[in-house]
Symmetry: C2
């Protein structure tokens, strides 16, 4: 139940186009509902309604609520990890790496994706849920930690005078600020900030975190 479900032993034949389409609609709906209400707050029925599918269909494709959740997170994880690694490589190619460059490479892909596909915005909130709930630590470790480790290593090289725990703790604060950026727009406004443009906010957050790490 903690492992991702193994592929079916032998698939008799390839899934039909229609099957793939409903499958996608179900996962899109699951992504949005889980992002909006969290795992416990979401119900299979919410998802079924949003996908405009019968409840049984959600079970069929998802294999149960928990499994559906796993798969929903996993679906875009690889894409995100690759994009982050690519961004890091691009930053390297442009000359000497800076701390800001590394942090940007970690953050930007998520927001760039969201610009063209709003579904990535839901996925980002979903990532926030997974990252903050101890219950999903396994998922987090499997899908997000590997990339985090690479970035962490890069930061350590850029800050040779800083201690290892300092950098790790700082990195966690950086990630939490990233999640806050994705989820706390209302909170900022309730504290009286006129909303800056998102691009500005990202730049701010990166600057904030980089300065914090160098302290």
């Amino acid at each position: 139940m903690t492992a991702l479900q193994a592929p079916k032993y032998k698939r008799k034949r390839a899934p039909s186009q229609r099957s793939l389409a409903t499958r996608q609609r179900i996962f899109n709906a699951a992504e949005q509902v889980f992002a909006d209400k969290g795992f416990d707050g979401a119900t299979i029925r919410d998802i079924a309604d949003l996908a405009d599918e019968p409840v049984g269909s959600v079970h069929h494709h998802g294999g149960g609520k928990e499994n559906l959740f796993h798969q929903t997170v996993a679906r875009r994880a690889e894409t995100l990890a690759s994009a982050r690694m690519n961004a890091l490589q691009n930053a390297r190619n442009k000359g000497a790496l800076t701390l800001e460059g590394v942090l940007s490479a970690f953050v930007r892909p998520l927001f760039d994706f969201a610009l063209t596909d709003p579904r990535w915005r839901s996925y980002a909130r979903l990532v926030a849920f997974v990252s903050t709930d101890k219950r999903w630590q396994d998922i987090s470790a499997r899908h997000f930690d590997p990339a985090a480790q690479v970035f962490l290593k890069e930061i350590i090289e850029l800050l040779p005078q800083a201690s290892r725990p300092w950098i790790t703790e700082s990195f966690v604060y950086f990630v939490s600020a990233t999640l806050a950026l994705m989820t706390s727009q209302e909170r900022m406004m309730s504290l009286g900030a006129k909303p800056s443009s998102e691009a500005d906010q990202i730049a701010h957050m990166v600057r904030f975190s980089a300065a914090g790490m160098r302290a």
Copy 2:
């Protein structure tokens, strides 16, 4: 249902000692269970079991799940807000305010309380839940924003050259780092940090945030 329940119109007589005691045990249990599992994940039965009280009793004292949640958050909110204001005043009395001093005054009371009463540790996690879930924005605005506004104003005076949105956004990152400090111990370890002492971590976090704000 969004407002805190009004005090009973006319209480016939004062609650007995025994009643007050069970009431406290119920709220202590609610605090812990809500902090561990969140609002949706928690059940009245979990709370009743932990308090060693019958389910009906939890309903009687709590007035329904949502009301119980509100009250549980409210119970310590005033104490926390006052302690923060006192800490700020103490910092002022010690001489010129520094940014680090202001941030410490905001963060430390929560951890100081937790040192002598572990229940405050649950409450801290509860605050994290409330602060990150849009659904509880009202509670957050009522109980935590007033103090936040005071601290925000102080920070604005200390950083006259910084823009208002910059400071607000930075403050949100600071708060998110505070919450991460309270909830992400495991995450830091899974990223390979040996745990620093809590006092060190708090000092780190304050230094990180102050440097970020000044950037």
